[in-house]
Symmetry: C2
Subunit: 141 residues, 2 copies
């Protein structure tokens, strides 16, 4: 098993860089966020502010839970509610220089983790798929 190779890999080599990441802006209404999620097909995406700083993540579950009434999904409420009201802010982040094992541990409980620089600017996302592909490459048994 090529352990040395794996420990040399950094987050920045495995991450999907920011320009390829679908995201929403913190001020957007939930209606726009849900449209981005349904059209892109992603279950959750990062939330950024207007200067591209990382703010949180938002997913279909939280959006739909926020409009689930006693009788039906009250979709009309999506145009008045904002992303910042339902986004998830307690997600761990990575730095692009973090090593492979740090990345692996980060994605155990999260399908993706945001890679953020020291000033909070969004660099990209590190996905479980990227970690699993790398592990599959390195584990020749």
């Amino acid at each position: 098993v090529e352990e040395k190779v794996m420990t040399d890999i950094l987050a920045e080599e495995l991450m999907i860089s920011s320009e390829k990441v679908a995201h929403v802006q913190i001020g957007n209404p939930l209606e726009h966020a849900l449209l981005v999620l349904v059209q892109s097909g992603y279950s959750a995406v990062p939330v950024l502010d207007s200067s591209y700083k990382f703010k949180g993540t938002i997913g279909k579950t939280k959006i739909l839970q926020s409009v689930l009434g006693l009788e039906r999904f009250e979709m009309e409420k999506l145009s008045t509610k904002k992303v910042e009201e339902v986004m998830n802010q307690d997600i761990p982040c990575l730095n692009k220089k973090d090593d492979f094992l740090t990345c692996l541990k980060a994605v155990i409980n999260y399908p993706f983790v945001c890679v953020v620089d020291n000033e909070g600017f969004f660099d990209g996302i590190l996905t479980r798929r990227a970690i699993l592909k790398q592990l599959n490459k390195n584990l020749h048994i």
Copy 2:
């Protein structure tokens, strides 16, 4: 690296067994399926028939895409559309005796894979989290 330990692990040791897996029935209307998904919080779950045979998977994305009209999400259509109209049937399955590497390869492109016996009965699901936790345990560098 404890490779021998990893290669001895089978799908049945890592899977979430069927009684703990949220699922929907093939004949259910999409309205019920979406409710199960939003209330459980899962982005997708297995679809079974009345004899608990595995039929496919269904997720929020496909359900919402199927009712996205030009102007709005046409949620009223969810009560007439059925699970079998939008479920995903081309997903690979595993057998409970499949080894660790087979499981790892299976979850590279799927957040979870269904474990099914020779007659097509549903045994459980193998998730990316279970694979990542095992890898984290075994990779002491």
